[in-house]
Symmetry: C2
Subunit: 185 residues, 2 copies
């Protein structure tokens, strides 16, 4: 069996790319080094190009379709509905989150908890026009596809303005309460 | 946007398939029902066909390459080296583990902890001839590829018989101790 050429090459390429940054001149940077500037961990100049089926597999494992319903006194119906698609990873793999962001052409990569980072899409247009069509064309294989179907239904209710009155909020809440429960209901 | 045809169709197909089982005649089965026979949860007659890139994405999220080194007084060198490739899932998605088993043509699907199931490959031949070549041809995109490279190196040491003496065991232990640590070392 041969040695892992892709791993070795990828690591040396990353080192080379970093050392070409004028700000790094004369310094040696290594992942995990205490000398590392934490700000730079989140910089990703050339995100990897992703394959659609890889994304489906990764999201089957790590993705989450979530709808938050938060009290919001300034809104007519007192509540704000916040749908979001999230993928969380340890920061060592933040480049995958940047690659997702580039693939979908929307969303943000931010700190989550501790060593974890999150790719997050919240905008209604981005969710409806980019995230949902992708997973319609490339169906999830895990039971997460049930959460996705409910998520899509809530997006449709929002686009119909149902989130602007209490009756609609209750309808949305009823659907959202069955999502991400770890069981199939 | 359209309704989720794939989800709806898949669920009705599953119900139909189950109701055609003579043992189920006259009964109604639903996932999550308290009437459900827990034994049947693990039965998978037609595992879904998987795409290689989907598997890579899923394993980037959920897979683990692990090498156990356990005391074993009956062996000449007192230790047993146990490499394994594992993918753990909630039992609601056990069909994906069966699909992995079918794809690789080896391994077992067993209970793990609580509601979780595991697809596990332990045999040296199966690991070396089926699992390793697959991930050589379809590289992981996460830092898990570093664990994979170390795993493969240990398999090579075992095939050279290094696990049969204490010096080799120490060499293997040194590599294994750097795996699955959540950091890149």
């Amino acid at each position: 069996m041969r040695e892992t050429p892709h791993t070795a090459v990828r690591y040396s390429l990353r080192s080379d790319r970093r050392s070409q940054n004028p700000a790094d001149m004369g310094t040696i940077r290594r992942e995990g080094s205490s000398m590392e500037n934490p700000q730079r961990l989140y910089v990703q100049t050339h995100p990897e190009k992703l394959n659609a089926q890889w994304i489906v597999g990764f999201v089957d494992g790590e993705g989450c379709f979530y709808v938050g319903i938060n009290p919001h006194p300034e809104m007519t119906c007192q509540f704000q509905v916040l749908p979001e698609f999230t993928v969380v990873q340890h920061r060592r793999d933040v480049q995958l989150l940047h690659a997702l962001k580039k693939f979908f052409g929307c969303g943000v990569v931010r700190s989550n908890h501790g060593d974890r980072m999150a790719y997050r899409v919240r905008g209604l247009n981005h969710l409806s026009e980019r995230i949902v069509p992708f997973f319609e064309q490339h169906p999830l294989k895990s039971k997460k596809r049930v959460d996705f179907a409910r998520f899509r239904k809530i997006l449709r209710l929002i686009s119909q303005g149902k989130h602007l009155n209490l009756q609609g909020i209750e309808e949305i809440r009823a659907i959202a309460s069955t999502m991400n429960t770890g069981s199939v209901r």
